[in-house]
């Protein structure tokens, strides 16, 4: 499954720590993203997932450590951040991916449009190219933003909680799209809150202001790792019709250091 060796990696991080000028918000991070792998990034809010993405994008210089990104990075943001009343079509949004590829004084031409339409085709939205972006469903918007990253020719995709707020069919469709993208040799970092979903991916990276664990889900997502990641205690509660559900109790506040 992995491309093996040290040649095939898209990004490598060793001994990374980061801060926004104040206290250190993320430390001891070290992992490698290889082509064709889906890596789930787990952690509570404020655990450093977004910080890590910003460092990989080069927007935030690391405080310490080495960051080597060999592939073009594409961000797939949460769609609520984009303005839904903005007067653009799905095609317009996909075309934004050409911005860094053509000189600033040129407008996207025929070749770029074809490229954007191909990307929309790849995410299954060719038919809706001319629909208003804001009127698409959450899952469709997410896929348009993936198409934008494909137009950028990003081989490393950073997806910010792409599954949040999606219904089951949309979620399934997005999952299979991510499998296709991995098969094309793209690497993905997918931030998520859904531990069960992350078990289906190739690797998981658990963060809680520092790296808790990194590895294959089956070996990595142990009870103690999950508890350390979420800073709480796992309990199993009775689920409704789909069996018992694990839940994490909020952390005890005996570690109120700063």
């Amino acid at each position: 499954m992995t491309t093996g060796g040290s040649k095939g990696f898209l990004a490598e991080v060793t001994g990374l720590s980061a801060s926004y000028g104040g206290p250190v918000v993320l430390e001891d991070v070290g992992f490698r993203v290889e082509a064709g792998l889906r890596i789930g990034v787990l952690g509570p809010n404020g655990s450093g997932k977004s910080t890590l993405f910003r460092v990989l994008l080069g927007e935030l210089p690391p405080l310490n450590g080495e960051v080597s990104v060999r592939a073009r990075c594409g961000v797939v943001p949460q769609t609520e951040r984009a303005r839904l009343d903005y007067p653009v079509s799905a095609l317009d949004v996909a075309l934004m991916g050409t911005l860094s590829r053509i000189p600033w004084w040129r407008r996207p031409g025929r070749a770029e449009r074809l490229r954007a339409l191909d990307a929309l085709e790849a995410v299954g939205l060719r038919e809706l190219a001319n629909e208003q972006f804001g009127e698409l469903s959450g899952g469709q918007r997410q896929r348009v933003l993936i198409a934008r990253a494909l137009v950028q020719d990003a081989r490393l995709l950073l997806l910010d909680e792409p599954f949040s707020g999606l219904d089951k069919p949309s979620s399934r469709r997005l999952s299979s799209l991510l499998i296709n993208l991995a098969a094309e040799g793209r690497g993905m970092l997918i931030s998520t809150h859904d531990i069960e979903q992350a078990r289906g991916w190739d690797l998981v990276l658990c963060l809680n202001r520092r790296q808790i664990a990194f590895g294959k889900p089956a070996q990595t997502l142990t009870r103690s790792v999950i508890e350390a990641t979420y800073g709480g205690e796992i309990i199993v509660v009775k689920g409704d019709d789909s069996g018992p559900v694990s839940a994490i109790l909020p952390p005890h506040h005996h570690d109120d250091e700063s």
Partner: protein, 314 residues
């Protein structure tokens, strides 16, 4: 079928009266100038106005227009070209806002409000001084009927610069406006987009302030685009609609001014606001209609239907 000579004469009379009413205003040099000015305002209001509305810069537009007032008054008092005074006024205002906005503990909004009222007040004091020449109300409310050939030529130059810049900046502005937080990762530059837009806003204000004055200039920079936003769902159509609405309001305002004897700038601004209210009313009624008919209210429905498997699939 033959018409009676009386009827023919009557309809011919009504017809020629109609054409006379329609064309008479434009036989005069003043009105031709005004028409050209209105067309120039329409081009700027249509194209740049859309970005001002989408970037939520309406307050900045209004602030700049008010804060340049002392520049206009000083130009009028010393006999300099108004556009020069306006340019000076806008520069002082921009620098003052930039500096005052940095002072800790004062919000940006507050800084803008303080600077704008200070400068505007200063302008009024100057304007009401005994030395001030008559006709200063033209600086406040504009004087579309008083634009000179030189004013028009300068305005044409500024309009050309504005339109060419907007054309070049289009992909940048579109990307940054869509999602500021990730714009950088796909090659956008939010700061550059903001600065470019503010410079163009200042240029456009210089063009429009001649015709509409310090108080009404914001109408043409914001009104048509805000109206077009209610009508168009894509950016290019929005710009075309905004420009056409701007022309329409400009020409309508000039007719109103000519025949009803109302100040031209105020008539144009009034027509812009009237168009906005009409379209807003129309879109509210259409919105109610959509709510009653959920099929029309759900634009996603066709796709859902399209992606359903065939009914008789295994």
């Amino acid at each position: 079928m033959m018409m009676s000579p009386e009827l023919l004469l009557l309809t011919g009379g009504v017809g020629s009266r109609f054409w006379q009413v329609l064309f008479e205003p434009w036989t005069q040099g003043i009105m031709q100038h005004a028409l050209t000015e209105v067309a120039l305002l329409g081009l700027v209001g249509g194209a740049l106005g859309c970005w001002i509305v989408l970037y939520e810069l309406s307050y900045s537009a209004e602030s700049l227009a008010h804060a340049l007032f002392p520049g206009l008054v000083i130009a009028a008092l010393s006999g300099l070209p108004l556009m020069l005074g306006a340019g000076l006024g806008i520069t002082v205002a921009a620098v003052a806002i930039a500096l005052f906005g940095q002072v800790p503990g004062i919000g940006r909004d507050t800084a803008v409000a303080v600077i704008v009222s200070t400068l505007f007040g200063l302008g009024v004091v100057l304007a009401l001084s005994p030395a001030s020449p008559p006709g200063l109300q033209g600086l406040l409310f504009g004087d579309i009927l008083g634009v000179s050939d030189l004013d028009l030529i300068l305005a044409m130059g500024l309009v050309a610069v504005t339109l060419i810049s907007l054309r070049l900046l289009h992909p940048q502005l579109l990307t940054v406006g869509f999602d500021r937080s990730t714009a950088r990762s796909i090659g956008g530059n939010p700061r550059r987009a903001d600065v470019a837009l503010l410079v163009l806003l200042a240029l456009a204000t210089l063009v429009a302030v001649q015709g509409l004055g310090s108080l009404l200039v914001v109408a043409v920079l914001v009104g048509p685009a805000a109206t077009a936003r209610l009508l168009a769902r894509r950016l290019t159509p929005m710009m075309v609609v905004a420009t056409l609405l701007s022309f329409l309001a400009g020409i309508g305002g000039l007719y109103l001014s000519y025949y009803a004897g109302i100040a031209a700038g105020a008539s144009v601004a009034g027509a812009i606001v009237a168009l906005y209210l009409i379209v807003l009313g129309g879109s509210k009624i259409r919105g109610l209609d959509r709510r009653r008919n959920p099929l029309r209210a759900n634009p996603r429905l066709p796709e859902t239907v399209r992606t359903l498997p065939p009914v008789d699939a295994p």
